[in-house]
């Protein structure tokens, strides 16, 4: 488990200090994946570098399984570093060492004896699906393969926490998939706690249990992805759910009721809406939205419009089936701008 409390870090800049982190607090429960998202300049990289113990924060604490790592130095700091596996943002493999040689680096640092080291390296190569590339040099590997070697290296000394800083930013969608699959396996098969820093919501969609949204060095939203998805006005929801902003207001003209509904983990959405219509004798139209998957959970967001006396009852009924229903203002026919 990682606990970050009140982390503050400033850098000297033109015209005074620049606050990269302004009291950031986070918690990543053991065995989960937290995605830290934000636009560039939000402080993501600084946060990642602080947790990787490459940058010393001005104030605050970083605890891994209860031990505060911020104040450590010397041998204690090096031992703490072995508790945190780091997949750096940029290509960081030693180009003069083979894939196996790169993965062995943390084991050398931990003074693991030769035969054990070889054993561990081949386990890790298998975990990331690169057993046949053991003696290949980084320059002969593809971007996705290099990133998987970097993950294997980060895991070599059996850390309890893995930190990945933009692990997919330089990859195409296809190889991104293979890297995310590996991160998912790391959590589910090894029980490692993972913190992924990314600007790509697809990463959150695919693998994250929790999310923290960073803005101007502050956490503005933090929680379980599936909880935030149905929270009104959450940034997570607007970024991950099917788009509704494109729907013109004119489409809703003439209906008695307009509402947005969000469904989490409800697979039978296709049957739910027609049933609501027929049960209550209302006319129900789908104005927009759609379905998507978060990790393995189906989620949907639709904008629907209803006409008929029992429109409110129909919406209430949908709400009772587990959907989050949010009423939207209706327009009188003909007055839409």
């Amino acid at each position: 488990m990682i606990t970050v409390e009140n982390l503050t870090k400033s850098f000297p800049g033109r015209g005074g200090e620049v606050r990269a982190l302004d009291g950031v607090s986070l918690e990543v429960p053991a065995g989960t994946i937290l995605g830290v998202v934000g636009t560039s300049g939000a402080g993501k990289s600084t946060l990642a570098r602080c947790i990787a113990l490459l940058e010393r924060p001005d104030a605050g604490s970083i605890r891994v399984d209860g031990t505060d790592l911020v104040s450590l130095s010397g041998a204690a700091l090096r031992a703490a570093r072995r508790q945190i596996g780091v997949v750096p943002q940029t290509d960081s493999l030693l180009r003069q060492r083979t894939a196996a040689g790169n993965i062995a680096l943390p084991l050398e640092a931990a003074k693991v004896p030769g035969p054990q080291r070889k054993q561990r390296v081949s386990e890790l190569l298998e975990l990331v699906g690169l057993s046949d590339k053991a003696s290949t040099f980084p320059d002969q590997l593809s971007g996705g393969q290099r990133q998987r070697v970097a993950i294997a290296r980060a895991l070599a000394a059996s850390p309890s926490v893995l930190l990945a800083d933009e692990p997919t930013s330089a990859l195409d969608p296809e190889t991104t998939g293979s890297v995310l699959t590996v991160l998912d396996r790391v959590r589910s098969e090894l029980g490692v706690t993972v913190l992924v820093v990314t600007h790509d919501m697809a990463v959150v969609r695919r693998i994250c249990d929790d999310i923290a949204v960073l803005e101007h060095g502050r956490v503005v939203e933090n929680g379980k992805v599936l909880d935030l998805i149905s929270a009104p006005g959450s940034r997570t929801a607007s970024a991950l759910l099917p788009e509704l902003d494109q729907i013109s207001q004119q489409h809703s003209a003439g209906y008695d009721r307009v509402a947005d509904i969000v469904l989490v983990g409800f697979a039978a959405i296709g049957a739910l809406l027609p049933e609501a219509a027929s049960r209550h004798g209302v006319e129900l139209s789908l104005l927009g939205g759609g379905m998507t998957r978060l990790n393995d959970t189906p989620v949907a967001r639709f904008r629907i419009a209803l006409s008929g006396e029992r429109a409110d009852a129909a919406l209430k009924w949908i709400g009772e089936r587990g959907a989050v229903v949010r009423h939207k203002p209706t327009l009188v026919a003909g007055t839409a701008a």
């Binding site: 940029t90 493999l93 030693l94 680096l105």
Partner: protein, 227 residues
């Protein structure tokens, strides 16, 4: 009146002085490596943003290296006479010339080493830091290993510079090809000897360059551009 030395004598002279050059250059290259490599590493790790930033030490080392590099070799040769005497026991001969040659080459190589280490990507070094490796381990296992091809090339450049420096060894009776060129070619207008030494020196330099290039490429595991 100009008298040209007969070819048989030229060959004798070339063999004798060539051997002296080889001896001086090889020996001083070995010592320059022993002194220049750690100095270069120290320059790199004490620099701001280095593994162990030490502003004062870095400035002092920088100053010493700059002074060492800018001194004309002849001056160094003479200035170091007392040092040479205390180390070698004499100030004359090829062995005596090795002392100033080494002292001249150490800062030269140190700068090249520093430059080679600077080319190692910061992200690679930081990744090594996050594994919990000690600084000496990072220097040996990461910095020097990653920079190895550039280091070998740098040593080659140093050896060739030493061949140039060794021409001055004649001042202390060290002999060598350069000295031969000066005595016969310049002072006695013996074009035959002059050109012969130039050819031999050229072949020497070319051979050194070829061998070190081969070595540098041989240990480099980065993708070679083939086009």
């Amino acid at each position: 009146m100009r008298t040209e030395t007969p070819w048989s004598t030229v060959f004798e002279l070339l063999a004798e002085t060539g051997w002296e050059t080889l001896y001086m250059v090889a020996l001083s290259a070995v010592f320059a490596f022993i002194g220049g490599l750690p100095l270069g590493v120290l320059l790199h790790v004490t620099a701001p943003g280095g593994l162990r930033p030490q502003v004062f030490t870095h400035r002092v080392l920088n100053f010493v290296v700059d002074v060492g590099r800018s001194l004309p070799f002849v001056i160094l040769l003479i200035a170091l006479l007392p040092v040479t005497r205390s180390i070698v026991g004499t100030t004359l001969g090829s062995t005596a010339a090795v002392v100033p040659l080494t002292v001249g080459a150490i800062p030269f190589l140190a700068r090249l080493v520093e430059g080679a280490l600077r080319e190692v990507d910061t992200s690679v070094v930081e990744a090594a830091i996050t594994t919990g490796a000690t600084k000496p381990h990072i220097v040996r296992g990461v910095l020097l290993r990653e920079a190895a091809p550039a280091l070998v090339a740098g040593i080659g450049v140093t050896v060739i510079a030493l061949i140039g420096y060794s021409a001055m060894a004649g001042v202390v009776g060290g002999g060598g090809l350069g000295d031969l060129a000066i005595r016969y070619g310049y002072q006695r207008f013996d074009t035959r000897v002059l050109i012969s030494t130039v050819v031999v020196l050229g072949v020497f330099a070319r051979l050194v360059q070829f061998l070190f290039d081969l070595g540098a490429r041989g240990i480099d595991r980065r993708r070679r551009v083939t086009a």
